[in-house]
Subunit: 432 residues, 2 copies
């Protein structure tokens, strides 16, 4: 039970930021409560593997409360935060319960953005949660099943909208499934005749990477069988396909399974915070935080991770925006915890500084691009070596020893057999 | 593509019976089509492990079409059979498609029976499919989460209705979770204070077992912390609990999660078959088959597995009913395939003979009962040795090498750490 004498720290969200903040308070004289609307910490960088049947959900989702079993000052609660009272220092849950706090760290993350076209969501699910991954897996596998029933691959198109890391990972893996995993499993169709199209509105995929790696990624995707189309702007999405404005004019693209990987927006909790504290939001709905990650005028509240429009501060240089990646969220979690303890001790807080270790993305079997920031300058490579590096980096950062072992084994198995074991479909009906 | 010259064999259902029948036709000069409404073969004996978070779904669910990758005369289709035309030799799918057959093997299995009280289904899910397992897992884990939110274990009761193999496995594992798995994960409640009640209407649990093993099972369950109540008849179930007629009169039992393991009924396809062919059904809706497993008067149609009310025939002895267990279904699959080929060759068919290798059930960590039929007479044992025997027997029969390896690893891990890794809950809302 929490000790009424000790400061009560409330963390909203058990993603990379929230988890890291709670861990950083391990030895601190505070009671921590972490509240999340799901019961697990999700290793999002591998979520596309669940969506494509390569990994089972429990391999990348660790029960939140088991992660804190050994940290006695953490209480884990399952609940959805719907309101914040900054003056009374209370958080409101959807079930009517209230949670008090002395210090609040909001790490509620991001969700999809359809740029105002929320009607597209039903036809083109995004990939943020396990439920999203199950829905995409269901659509992907059912499209092949329907084609076998029809004995026809005519409309067996898969379209991924958005050429960022999630988009290229999904497109590359879908092509791999069609060409390798499903080979010899169908009798009336040739699954390799499925077409995977990757649509990117900008001039190149992986725009956050240096141009040479973008070009390498495009070539690797094409070698895997992905039809990469840059400068292709989506103007409409329905159940049967998409309307696209391409380099050569508008055209129609039939699609048996469309996935949205084009835009993210901050969690709606940003607006809740703005209503409660008057804080400012940027265009993506992210909270503009002070250099020390607290809310301007509300030092007891910090915002971290994808919900924060944070800047990296290095003395003598202009501040730089922090990219929405997991290392950024984890580093913010540690800084927010450190600043919270500094405030308790009456010491000055420190500005957040983002350490960029680089950037990597995988595209499918043997294919990846890596852009590492080293003390000697950038180290860039692609192809097989990049893929091995990507694999071990991701397994290393997976939470929980058991999961790492299982994921490595799953991959070793998939590598030799081309099989993807997690191909469960429990319902023929769509989610909507 | 199927060869129009070769006899077309249609198998409905990819459970133990259907899978085994298709495999037995591996080298036969026939084209086999196997149709199922889900895309996976489910290893049902371990389904309770998914319901209790010990195994992930893909560990016990192999994609049906990948099981037949190497068997070129099998076409796998995803579809729900809703009608049969015995004269035209056509099967009707829910989507309007028709599948022709020369020989039909119906292996559609069983479902829950609430003995006419289908309104209980919403409050007490049964355990037949992966969706059932997910729903039970959700309710079980959310009950603990709710108790932690309330800081109160008052109503933290789990009630399993039915003391057959599934009921004792679920009750024993639930007790293990409360006492071991969740220890140290809660701060406001002691999960070990959860109460697991097993209600059985008859005088003893595992009624199919010899009396000594039933008594041993009861003692082992009680040692695990299960409150075993025999002679307890359920008269009502609602969202908050059950009404029970016990040995000492009627009483009310609060329940945070009720599971139905008390009754099974044959698949509704039995009634479809009866309508199409005039065949007789028994009280549980199972099809009364001829000794060679065909439908009386319809030699082109066979019924096997849990949907068949089959008898075991041994020369010189009276026929004996076949129990609804997986070895029975598999043996029927092989006999139906053999008889189908005999008919093609114009040879006489053979009566089904069930070989009973015994019976075993597990009750939780270190606890099981085994009743083996050996040439030297029955071999009966319980406790630790029985548990090890049960474990290896089940892993041995798991379909697919990879799954065996993963399941063994999961168990080794769970054994040493008491952890259950597959504790994903993706939605807070109930299924209904």
């Amino acid at each position: 039970m929490p000790d009424a004498q000790r400061p009560q720290v409330l963390i909203v969200g058990c993603g990379f930021g929230g988890l890291e903040a709670a861990r950083a308070l391990r030895h601190a004289p505070v009671d921590v409560t972490i509240v999340d609307r799901s019961n697990h910490h999700l290793f999002q960088p591998l979520l596309y593997q669940v969506a494509t049947g390569g990994l089972s959900a429990p391999s990348i989702a660790a029960p939140a409360r088991s992660l804190f079993r050994g940290q006695r000052n953490v209480t884990t609660l399952l609940g959805e935060v719907v309101g914040i009272d900054a003056d009374a220092r209370l958080v409101q849950l959807a079930d009517g319960r209230q949670l008090p706090f002395d210090h609040l760290i909001v790490a509620a993350g991001a969700t999809h953005s359809y740029f105002g076209r929320d009607d597209w969501a039903a036809h083109a699910p995004g990939l943020k949660s396990l439920d999203d991954a199950f829905e995409i897996r269901r659509r992907l596998l059912l499209a092949f099943e329907q084609a076998e029933l029809r004995a026809d691959t005519e409309a067996l198109n898969f379209v991924v909208v958005g050429g960022g890391p999630t988009g290229v990972e999904l497109a590359g893996t879908m092509a791999e499934i069609a060409r390798h995993t499903l080979r010899d499993e169908f009798r009336r169709i040739d699954p390799a005749r499925a077409r995977v199209v990757l649509l990117e509105g900008g001039p190149r995929v992986l725009a956050a990477m240096p141009e040479g790696l973008s070009e390498s990624a495009r070539q690797q995707l094409q070698r895997l069988g992905v039809d990469v189309r840059t400068g292709a702007r989506v103007t409409a999405i329905d159940a049967e396909g998409l309307q696209v404005d391409g380099a050569d004019g508008p055209y129609r693209l039939a699609s048996a399974c469309t996935v949205w990987a084009a835009g993210v927006a901050a969690s709606p909790l940003g607006r809740v915070l703005a209503g409660a504290t008057g804080c400012a939001l940027d265009r993506a709905g992210r909270v503009l935080v002070a250099p020390d990650l607290s809310l301007p005028g509300h030092p007891a509240i910090s915002v971290i991770g994808d919900l924060a429009a944070a800047q990296s501060h290095v003395a003598g240089r202009p501040p730089k925006p922090v990219p929405g990646v997991s290392p950024g969220a984890k580093q913010m979690g540690r800084t927010a915890a450190r600043n919270l303890l500094a405030r308790l001790d009456g010491k000055p807080t420190q500005a957040f500084r983002y350490r960029d270790y680089g950037n990597l993305a995988t595209l499918g079997r043997h294919s990846a691009v890596v852009d590492l920031a080293t003390p000697l300058g950038p180290l860039r490579f692609s192809g097989w070596a990049a893929w091995v590096f990507w694999l071990f980096a991701h397994v290393y950062f997976l939470i929980g020893f058991r999961n790492r072992l299982v994921v490595l084994m799953d991959w070793a198995w998939a590598y030799w057999t081309h099989e993807r074991h997690a191909r469960v479909v429990t319902t023929l009906q769509p989610r909507e």
